[in-house]
Symmetry: C2
Subunit: 226 residues, 2 copies
């Protein structure tokens, strides 16, 4: 988006709401992750795998954003966790006020892990803080290894990059090592995982990453609530 | 983007410059096409195939947009046609003023066919008229057949949808007929082509589409310059 004065105001107001949300999540012990990628990189498929795989004692919920359709929510509801669709109607990203509105009616004390699936867009969502504990960027092997350099902001701001569709590696020209190097050039400390949602490769490591991230978060939560 | 009052002003100013550009393109007989897709759907690859395939008497030029890097311009310059990179530095779309600025120094009388490769983003570029004769949307078979329904604006505004990476069809869950039906639900009159930039399938039909589009345009141009 253009950095117009009004947009700066919009972003400032967004940051204010996001800070409140972050505080609320911490108070209630809800780890919130904001998943961002191009359209069709596999955010919904990763969430399907996740909801299918997580242990019964992880109480998850999903807010899933799209410009139009309820398709993703329908796909994700099958697993029995609370899911709400946020239909933006044209807006190219989720913002903090949409999250705030869609949390109404949910008891955060009963949600340990809140996944936000952003609108499919590698650019604009990176500017909008949603109060998440961490952003996670997905990049599929069909998109080209130069994408971290072309869309640096989201790789810089994400704690984890998930390289998806690794089952297609034999069929595409994609140098996965170079893609990872490019991600690290933009963000040296970024975690990187390789997964295939179709075959299930790498899902165990993704669940382990979530588990580690939850442990870190809950030690912070313990401090916050002392 | 949010439909804020200031954004409406920005869009109005953009439309003014775009109308001037459209008039200039028509006066000089330059057919301008605006290529839009998600990151990594194959815009640059399609242009590589195009510049390689077009007849010697088609005088083409390319303006290629990216948030960062000159990668695409480097890839496209190999074919000997004029190419300029537009690096937006964070902005999620090209706008008409960027096109106007980057045309400086080019003789439009010597350009029959101007390709604009937009920033990889299926959302925001659809709102910005660049003075093009037609928008062309690309969708790769790895992105899922529901994308026309999820991102209707760009399919509604495009004259042609190019379904790319058809060589990957045996390896992905993608119902190409359903994808085409979805595109036609959003835009009944849309032309649709299937291509594989890797294998070259469908490129002849794409060149034929360009040829047909040029013929239509030049009859309009003839009227305009009588």
């Amino acid at each position: 988006m253009n950095q117009l004065p009004l947009e700066k105001k919009v972003l400032k107001e967004n940051d204010r709401i996001a800070a409140e949300l972050r505080e609320r999540f911490l108070t209630h012990g809800t780890l919130c992750l904001n998943l961002i990628s191009s359209p069709g990189s596999g955010k919904t498929s990763l969430l399907e795998r996740t909801l299918q795989s997580i242990d019964g004692d992880w109480r998850a919920a999903v807010l899933t954003g799209d410009i139009q359709t309820e398709n993703d929510a329908s796909r994700l509801r099958r697993f029995g966790f609370p899911v709400k669709q946020i239909t933006t109607g044209g807006t190219c990203h989720l913002d903090a006020s949409m999250i705030e509105r869609h949390l109404v009616g949910w008891d955060l004390d009963a949600i340990d892990l809140l996944f936000i699936e952003n609108v499919g867009n590698l650019v604009c969502p990176s500017s909008y803080d949603l109060g998440e504990a961490a952003k996670v960027v997905l990049l599929s092997v069909t998109e080209g290894e130069d994408k971290p350099l072309k869309y640096p902001s989201i790789f810089f701001k994400s704690e984890l990059a998930v390289i998806t569709k690794t089952d297609l590696l034999p069929h595409v020209h994609f140098n996965i090592t170079e893609a990872e190097e490019n991600a690290r050039r933009v963000h040296p400390g970024i975690d990187i995982l390789r997964v295939s949602n179709t075959r299930g490769d790498g899902i165990t490591r993704w669940i382990a990453w979530l588990d580690k991230r939850r442990t870190q978060y809950y030690s912070k939560h313990a401090v916050a609530t002392v």
